[in-house]
């Protein structure tokens, strides 16, 4: 379009800054583990050798919110856990994303009662919901790929 035509064939590649930033974000998105129940077992399995989430730039699960970009809420969130979840989310630096893994985190699942939050989107904004009880490690990875597609289409304004 612009500068490539002027420069001619000089081996220069141009890209939009947004695309470069989103590319960088999807290549090193460190998840914060938030294992609360049986879904955490599948999350650990997704991190282990057979499924290996480090292929998607998730080299390690951070237990500390200050070093993480993505919160994977795996398991049922009780009413008492909800303020803790919100506090940890607030401690994460921007930009941040949330995957709600499993039925219980997404909408309460089979636990339709007073003790369980009926979906973590009551507490934090959720980007991707993964269905399953618990979801297979592949399903979690599918959710991560869905999130990456979403991140790739984000603009600077979304995080302004």
């Amino acid at each position: 379009m612009g500068v490539e035509q002027k420069l001619g064939n000089m081996g220069v590649v141009t890209a939009k800054l947004e695309d470069m930033v989103n590319w960088a974000r999807t290549r090193a998105m460190w998840p914060m583990l938030f294992g609360l129940a049986c879904c955490a077992i599948e999350m650990m399995s997704a991190q282990a050798a057979h499924y290996d989430m480090s292929r998607f730039g998730m080299e390690l699960m951070r237990p500390s919110p200050r070093q993480s970009d993505l919160m994977i809420v795996a398991g049922r969130v009780s009413r008492k856990m909800a303020p803790v979840l919100r506090r940890l989310y607030d401690q994460m630096p921007e930009p941040k994303w949330v995957i709600s893994m499993g039925d219980c985190a997404s909408c309460g699942g089979v636990f339709n009662n007073y003790a369980i939050v009926q979906g973590v989107d009551e507490v934090v904004p959720v980007d991707v919901y993964v269905a399953g009880c618990p979801p297979r490690p592949e399903a979690l990875i599918h959710g991560i790929v869905t999130l990456y597609e979403k991140v790739q289409s984000e603009t600077m304004k979304d995080h302004a």
């Binding site: 050798a49 057979h50 499924y51 290996d52 292929r55 039925d103 997404s106 909408c107 309460g108 699942g109 089979v110 339709n112 979906g119 989107d121 980007d127 991707v128 919901y129 993964v130 269905a131 399953g132 009880c133 979801p135 297979r136 592949e138 399903a139 990875i141 599918h142 959710g143 790929v145 869905t146 979403k150």
Partner: protein, 173 residues
């Protein structure tokens, strides 16, 4: 402790690490390469049809009664011979499953008297909006078998499809 013992332990430990260099990698390259599911795996639901194109579901709501997480909603309507969806008196005019509520236990499959609903092998259910998780009948019902073009509702001769549940041929089955 002898002098060489810590070194020996170190070498022994590193030998295990060294041996794993020659092992084949176990990682399944998931989005490109998919591991086949087990025969009894329970994934996304499918609503089935008979060979003549009629729906197997008769709208009895037994699946929704059996569902432990109340994920299924069924609304039934009357069949007529001019507009027939399923054999028998009634059919499911609305059939919705909330995929985020469903725990994939397979009780609906067990409760179904006509074997209309089964759990398939699709596990890739991710949504960016909670409302997208409610699958309606058009998404769940299986496409028409190849070669047949008879959609539901069908216009049929009166007195043919009177039985909602097919007759049992083999009682041991």
């Amino acid at each position: 402790m002898r002098f060489g013992e810590p070194v020996l332990e170190l070498v022994r430990g590193m030998w295990i690490t060294f041996k794993s260099i020659f092992e084949r990698p176990v990682t399944v390259q998931y989005p490109e390469e998919k591991r086949p599911v087990r025969p009894r795996f329970r994934g996304r639901h499918v609503l089935h049809r008979y060979e003549n194109g009629l729906e197997k579901c008769i709208g009895c709501s037994l699946c929704s009664a059996a569902c432990p997480s109340d994920a299924i909603f069924v609304e039934a309507a009357e069949n007529t011979d001019e507009a027939r969806y399923s054999p028998g008196e009634r059919y499911a005019s609305t059939y919705e499953i909330n995929m985020l509520r469903c725990i994939y236990c397979g009780f609906c499959e067990d409760a179904c008297p006509t074997e209309a609903i089964t759990l398939g092998d699709n596990y890739e259910l991710t949504f960016t909006d909670r409302r997208d998780a409610i699958y309606d009948k058009d998404m769940l019902i299986e496409p028409l078998p190849a070669g047949s073009d008879e959609l539901t509702p069908q216009k049929v001769k009166p007195g043919v499809h009177t039985r909602a549940v097919p007759e049992m041929k083999n009682p041991d089955d």
